[in-house]
């Protein structure tokens, strides 16, 4: 990855090929989410919490595979899901944090110059003939804006869950149709029993902060684990058929 700050001067002629996202997504089994997209993610993905290897802190993710480097939603050309998480649709762009010498922090739009999406033969451009942002680039900006707008609220939401001891490890012991056992570790979710015993005052506080909907989205999304198992079983059955 080679992130550089985007500028009209240097990157006005940049060409992009969104179809090449597969090279980044195909082996990605978890994608970070922001709180505003939980509702949309719920349609397809279990929404889980996992720890950052750097800080140990929890962040929410859409679970897309049952093993590392496995994406059960990537069909070879597209992500087979109603909602593409913002952290995928923003690629190859990212929001960088620029620490000024005076200590002030500024957000900057960056582009990963080593991403396969940055391609001279790509169909998309950032700026059209009249010097205006293209519809494609306006779309990217909207995605980045949403990510930035909900970053803090997402962190606060997860921190609140941790502070209230509402997070529990999900211990999933799965047996696939092939008979193969699968143990998933390092995934966390809401402890429903504890959540349902929260005092009224806390529930009111959660409602005021807008935490109830995402909390229920997380709890309900565990039903999607079965869809992942189904996808995995279908994929393995397909593989077996291929070799017979």
């Amino acid at each position: 990855m080679h992130l550089v700050e985007l500028s009209r001067q240097h990157h006005g002629g940049l060409r992009l090929d969104p179809a090449r996202i597969g090279e980044q997504v195909a082996r990605c089994h978890m994608v970070p989410l922001v709180i505003s997209e939980f509702r949309r993610a719920l349609a397809d993905f279990p929404i889980v919490l996992a720890k950052s290897a750097e800080t140990g802190r929890f962040s929410p993710y859409a679970l897309m595979g049952l093993s590392p480097e496995e994406n059960l939603f990537w069909d070879g050309t597209r992500l087979d899901a109603a909602h593409v998480p913002l952290n995928l649709s923003r690629l190859p762009f990212a929001i960088g944090i620029d620490q000024q010498p005076d200590g002030a922090v500024r957000n900057a739009v960056c582009v990963d110059m080593e991403s396969p999406l940055v391609s001279e033969s790509g169909p998309e451009a950032l700026i059209d003939g009249q010097g205006r942002d293209t519809a494609y680039f306006l779309g990217v900006q909207k995605v980045l804006h949403e990510l930035l707008s909900y970053k803090l609220m997402t962190e606060q939401f997860v921190q609140t869950l941790a502070d209230r001891d509402l997070i529990a490890e999900m211990r999933l012991n799965i047996v696939l149709e092939s008979g193969k056992p699968l143990v998933l570790t390092g995934l966390y979710g809401l402890d429903e029993d504890k959540f349902n015993r929260l005092p009224d005052a806390t529930v009111t506080e959660f409602r005021q902060h807008g935490y109830l909907t995402p909390a229920y989205a997380m709890m309900l999304s565990t039903a999607r684990i079965q869809s992942l198992i189904d996808r995995r079983n279908r994929a393995e059955a397909g593989d077996r058929a291929w070799f017979q």
Partner: protein
């Protein structure tokens, strides 16, 4: 006589006092009207000794039980990780002479007797790694200066078993805050003018300077070397063990780090000297270093010179603090309605960090056995005394073991330590048995054991003790399981030395991000 036990008064506000108050209150104060009343009285004038800076892994469970966050503990008590002790120059006194007593048990222990196989392979073969290195991955982790866990490991969880190094003054302060704010312990700051006994020899109340008489049903004497209740008021005699353990003086200094990012060794260093040994404990902000020695064998001047040689140029700005060590303990620890915990109960050189762990075990036992009535207290006291005496005896044996196994001949101190007349019979018997087989759980069958057989193995074989397995050679003939265990250990070493962070690096992350509770 059927007086109910409704109140406990802890006397003294050092580590022992606050741990006693915390452990008792965490169990017996549940937020109900009939809760046990727990009071701690401490003096403003008398400071705390604050010598206990190394813990056992038991402290993790103690802290969890009293409900403190391990993150807060790290942030407020300058805590660092301890993964055992590195003993340097204890065996021959040579420059490269060292061995580890790690906190992770030997691979396969206790179902597999790897020690016997190691002895078998190591006999006459220089290429076989040291015992602690061959059977346990923690030595490699320590030598790499690595932490025992990852930032993703939850509070109190571990990759490799660990204990703590801490600032004893900050620890007492930290526990005080928790006891008062969270556990409902009543805190009285006052001087105790007198301990007043009733007609039956129980402590009736403390006469205090400003708060009048302070009565309680049970008193916990945590008054340190003063032993105000158990010694002065109740006259329980002190039993010296200086005929076994010769160390009677400590010279301690607090050494600042050269740079703020200086590495913190994740283990206690115990460096043998001509007439004692030096402990070197790294916490976040400084090292705590002390020479504990025998005044019968050396002079203070000589000891200061040895300490200076260990510390280096930094010693010039430091003034060593002198602490007398009277090795030994009370004849009994619980008399009438008073039980002694901490330095008032006894003290030994800190060779195996036994001070804080004895406090934890004692207060846990007091809390769990807390008698409901005065007439059942004497039964409780008798049991407490038996168990606690057993523990002191085992610690004394284990400390003596380090001296008995040394081959140093550079001073009378080491020679005298090997004089059979100074070795407790219980230890002599164990050593006689271990000439022919490795220490095992069968040697330590009490519920009140201090050190597991594995600890004895680490010290024995780390110090070059040789077993004669010829009579039981068939036990080490089939090495398939042993070789698997050695390979597993090698794989763990490879894995964890590659993935664990540096000790200071993890501590800084804990300060910045905290650890998760799950």
């Amino acid at each position: 006589m059927n007086e109910r036990i409704k109140s406990v008064c802890v006397v003294g506000g050092g580590s022992a006092g606050w741990l006693a108050a915390a452990v008792i209150a965490a169990r017996h104060r549940q937020g109900h009207e009939d809760d046990l009343a727990v009071t701690l009285i401490e003096s403003e004038a008398i400071g705390i000794i604050g010598v206990g800076e190394g813990t056992w892994p038991t402290m993790r469970n103690t802290l969890r039980k009293i409900g403190v966050s391990e993150t807060d503990f790290f942030r407020e008590c300058d805590v660092s990780f301890k993964q055992g002790a590195k003993f340097t120059r204890w065996v021959t006194g040579a420059e490269d002479d060292f061995y580890y007593h790690p906190l992770v048990l030997p691979e396969g222990f206790p179902s597999l007797d790897l020690a016997s196989f190691w002895n078998h392979y190591a006999a006459g073969n220089e290429a076989v790694p040291s015992f602690s290195d061959a059977v346990c991955f923690q030595e490699a982790v320590c030598e790499g200066g690595l932490a025992p866990k990852l930032i993703t490991t939850p509070e109190y969880g571990c990759v490799a078993n660990y204990a703590y190094h801490l600032d004893a003054h900050k620890f007492a302060h930290f526990l005080r805050k928790h006891c008062i704010e969270k556990l409902g312990v009543r805190h009285v700051v006052d001087e105790v003018d007198d301990v007043v006994l009733d007609g039956k020899g129980d402590v009736a109340h403390l006469a205090t300077h400003r708060n009048g008489p302070l009565a309680a049903d049970l008193f916990v004497d945590c008054t340190g070397f003063h032993a105000l209740l158990i010694g002065k008021a109740l006259g329980v005699p002190f039993r010296s063990c200086q005929d076994v353990l010769f160390i009677d003086r400590a010279l301690t200094v607090q050494v600042p780090y050269d740079t703020p990012d200086q590495e913190i060794p994740p283990y206690t260093i115990s460096a043998a000297q001509s007439n004692g040994w030096i402990f070197d404990i790294g916490i976040q902000t400084r090292r705590g270093v002390g020479y504990v020695y025998s005044t019968a064998h050396t002079t203070k001047e000589r000891a200061e010179a040895d300490l200076a040689a260990h510390v280096g140029p930094a010693i010039e700005k430091l003034q060593p603090r002198e602490i007398p060590i009277r090795s030994g303990h009370r004849e009994i620890f619980w008399k009438g309605n008073c039980v002694a915990v901490g330095l008032s109960a006894g003290f030994l050189e800190p060779l195996e960090a036994s001070a804080l762990v004895l406090i934890e075990l004692s207060v846990e036992m007091i809390s769990a056995m807390l008698p409901a009535t005065r007439d059942t207290m004497d039964i409780t006291a008798r049991r407490f005394n038996d168990v606690t005496r057993y523990r002191w005896d085992r610690i004394i044996d284990f400390l003596k073991l380090h001296y008995v196994l040394s081959k140093r001949t550079d001073s009378a101190f080491w020679e005298d330590n090997r004089d059979p007349a100074t070795i407790p019979e219980s230890l002599q018997e164990q050593l006689a048995l271990w000439r022919y087989r490795a220490p095992g759980d069968q040697d330590f069958s009490s519920n009140s054991e201090m050190f597991p057989a594995a600890s004895y193995q680490y010290v024995l074989f780390g110090m070059g003790f040789k077993m004669d397995l010829s009579e039981r050679g068939y036990l080490v003939r089939d090495g398939v399981r042993a070789e698997e265990a050695f390979r597993r250990n090698a794989a763990l070493k490879e894995k964890w030395t590659r993935s664990l962070p540096k000790n200071r690096q993890l501590i800084e992350k804990i300060r910045e991000f905290g650890m998760q509770r799950v």
